[in-house]
Symmetry: C2
Subunit: 510 residues, 2 copies
């Protein structure tokens, strides 16, 4: 039965002695997505029972309703990387300071956020020990040990784990938390070509997570020098966009590390000619942030909206008994419906609680974002049908019981596609092509995702950042899309006026 | 192809310029299980590529070869608990000190081993933050919040995570490490009866992990008051035994916490009569220790021995080409064999490396514990057969290619059963029934697992511990088995001479 961990009002019961009934102040959200996005988001993730705030700032409890999404994404991604002969492993949570500090750019990128263990029980540790913010420095000393000859390559490992980044700015559930869950892949190859190819293969899996599972459109591209992974050669990413805030959000990253870490950690091997050579490395990760992006993109003023492919309950069946109606018949029809759907591989559940009205239940499951609601009342029973109500657009459809499985499957597919299409249309409406600084500033103030010709110089990006620094945060590059529009000769950089070398997305970001 | 992360000698290559070839000192183990068990164990887990020692003491790297076992166990256990309507969640790694210290007995049990984060980046934290040694105190403040009425019960959550216990005594890979992986289930019920029933349902799953998957015989029973979980009501466990060291080892525990934590964390609800009531709680866990127990029980002087059900490679196919033989034909036959087995759902791989002899490969895959080796040479090719060699007993069986799948399946089943039977026979030979102190001491010196009638008094256990304290460690209770032999009236406690109330297993332990 649904809702065992639901936050519920104490039931009123006839025959019980008089008691204080705590009143829930309704089920609705007190904030609107269009008016106060930040508050709306916090309210949705809590009221939909995805997140519980924790007594340590920046840490959050992932409740079953969100954990199930994480598991579904994992069930997709893990077999895909196993097909690529990537193997799972587990490296320690702790890093010794010497190793952590080995790669200079890398440690500069992470040092301010590293949490340090200095005590066990009542004793001070001899040297403080860091908690991994990411595992390059944890793993690569052992890559150096394990890789000796060309036959040891490629070495392709992945781990599912928690990492800690003690950030101070604006913690947000899923999006920016001090501890989060992710997978991190770390691979080493004999050639740059192999590494380059894998970077893109993994990025395609990340695109599929967002577009096929979470129904969130993303743009694949390359990060600027300023925004790339600390210590890496180049970074690719899938970039999502939140129209309500006009902010881009890095969805997941697939880095080519080049030979930089290999140099620092001496990851050498003997090649086929018997010469000493250095490996080419990648690292890549997606995290529980994925879930937050999905909430931000699809949620509405009724609460969460879940794409069917990641919903742990795809269909919720609610009995609608009337006075004098065949209540038992209705309940039986609900159970039969759940059974039929479950046997067909559809994740269905019923809500038979006797202390809530059907109306309350509608709101409850809308808040939790269940893609389809099925209502069964006396009329439906008489007509051998059920009524389905879509979460995404509120459409009501009567379905003959005989066609149940086929029609529900169709509807779920349709909802999945529709969520993506609507999100893509909204995102596309936010994309603004600009050619000049004035156009750029205007578009930024309109919260656009800006596509501009750029000279690709680091100082120019720094300059744009400095010039747009304000209350809402500076603009920066999001990515240079792989899918480049034509760049006519003579096109100038919007910011520097120098010759543009590529189209790049700019905007504020999370 | 196998062995991408294998520790391998650099290949000798004709035509390569002269180079230093690091010599591996053979593949064999330098220690014998019967002679120096501790060294043998460390060598096996490293040489079989399960573990790599890490530069922080007590932390170990789980390499793919062991991680795969952990994943197979998870693939069994996770769906089983989902059938029991237990849902996965994720609570933070960190605990604030106030909450950690709420349950007095509990914190006393764990405080000396708690790791503390006191710094982030260069800043001191305002208050130190603990890393979870287990999550009772992390979770239960929220159980208090979520549980209000009887309809919120049962609340049944589980998480797969890492925990940290900064132990100082004798770290051992898998068996005792400062960080380890586990699942921890935390459930709350309206009645003690429900809690009691779940304790045993979970314990049965733990028995199945050991006996059906790891082929390790265990005894189900109840822990003594002295050995129960700190802060709980009673603890049940599955207890394994390592004949070579004569030590018992707690395999996994399923605790009934009673109402003790509920009292401390105010986990109350309104029952059906409208009265305030307190929940009954359980917690239960198994960890990566399972893998260590398996290694200790089945391993031999050739290395690891894997039960087929947990082996990521169940069958390794090795070509045995001879001079002038049809090498390509042999290689093709090997590939075809792997394909046929894989299509039948058997985890098979081949080892086509050209820089190792067949003999070297035999030793290598024996070290890694692969249950079955298939050799294909010219004679096999001519006779349309393959030769299978069992890892558990070395038996060689010729199998007609036409019968491949059926016969290999039979063999794998047989190996699984045989490993269990042999382990059980060895374990049973170590069980000694005693009635007196003298018999007890004698059996302890013979490294037995001792079954003795006991008065079940805490002081008597303390006394036995004190009297047996010596170089090898004190004896303590392992468990009182649920399967109790008859206890004739008038039977005396072996240690105190008082009337015995139950049979209890005693011994040294890990």
């Amino acid at each position: 039965m649904a809702g065992s961990e639901a936050k519920k009002p104490v039931a009123k019961q006839s025959g019980a002695k008089k008691k204080e009934v705590k009143k829930e102040t309704g089920l609705g959200l007190t904030h609107r997505k269009a008016e106060n996005f930040g508050e709306w988001y916090s309210e949705v993730v809590v009221n939909a029972e995805m997140i519980e705030y924790y007594d340590i700032s920046g840490c959050y409890i992932l409740r079953p309703w969100s954990m199930a999404i994480w598991e579904i994404l994992q069930e997709f991604f893990d077999p895909e990387i196993k097909k690529m002969k990537i193997k799972n492993c587990y490296f320690p949570l702790f890093v010794s300071p010497g190793v952590l500090q080995k790669e200079k750019d890398h440690v500069e990128g992470f040092a301010p956020e590293v949490a340090w263990v200095t005590k066990s029980g009542e004793s001070e540790l001899e040297i403080p020990i860091a908690i991994r913010p990411t595992s390059e420095t944890v793993m690569y000393p052992y890559y150096s040990k394990w890789i000796r000859g060309h036959r040891d390559l490629p070495l392709k490992l992945n781990q599912w784990c928690n990492v800690v980044r003690w950030e101070f700015s604006n913690p947000t559930p899923f999006i920016r938390s001090r501890e989060f869950l992710w997978q991190e892949g770390h691979t080493a190859f004999a050639t740059k070509e192999e590494a380059d190819a894998e970077v893109l293969d993994i990025l395609e899996l990340y695109r599929r997570i967002y577009e096929e599972y979470l129904a969130v459109p993303v743009i694949k591209g390359k990060k600027s020098e300023m925004e790339k992974f600390a210590g890496g050669l180049y970074t690719t990413s899938v970039e999502a966009f939140v129209p309500n805030t006009g902010r881009g959000i890095q969805g997941a990253t697939s880095h080519c590390l080049g030979q930089n870490f290999a140099k620092m950690f001496e990851i050498n091997y003997e090649n086929e000619k018997g010469e000493k050579a250095m490996v080419w490395q990648n690292s890549w990760a997606y995290s529980t942030r994925t879930i937050g992006v999905m909430v931000m993109v699809h949620g509405d003023d009724k609460g969460l909206v879940l794409p069917p492919k990641v919903a742990s309950v795809q269909v919720i069946v609610i009995p609608v008994p009337y006075k004098d109606a065949d209540t038992q018949g209705i309940f039986d029809a609900c159970s039969a419906t759940v059974n039929t759907l479950s046997e067909a591989g559809i994740r269905a559940d019923s809500d038979f609680r006797d202390n809530y009205s059907p109306g309350w239940k509608y709101s409850h499951w809308e808040m939790k974002g269940v893609p389809l609601r099925i209502e069964i009342g006396p009329k439906d029973l008489a007509n051998k049908q059920v009524r389905a109500v879509r979460r995404d657009n509120g459409a009501k459809i009567d379905i003959a019981s005989d066609d149940l499985v086929v029609e529900i499957k169709k509807l779920l597919d349709n909802i999945q596609q529709n969520l993506f299409d609507v999100a893509k249309q909204k995102r596309d409406e936010c994309i603004q092509v600009v050619h000049s600084w004035d156009e750029f500033v205007k578009a930024l103030n309109q919260r656009k995702m800006i596509l501009a010709p750029w000279c690709d110089e680091e100082e120019v990006e720094a300059d744009v950042k400095a010039r747009t620094k304000g209350e809402m945060g500076a603009a920066k590059t999001l990515c240079s899309p792989f899918d480049q529009p034509e760049l006519p000769e003579g096109t100038k950089c919007f910011a520097s006026g120098k010759p543009a070398t590529k189209w790049t997305y700019w905007g504020r970001s999370y």
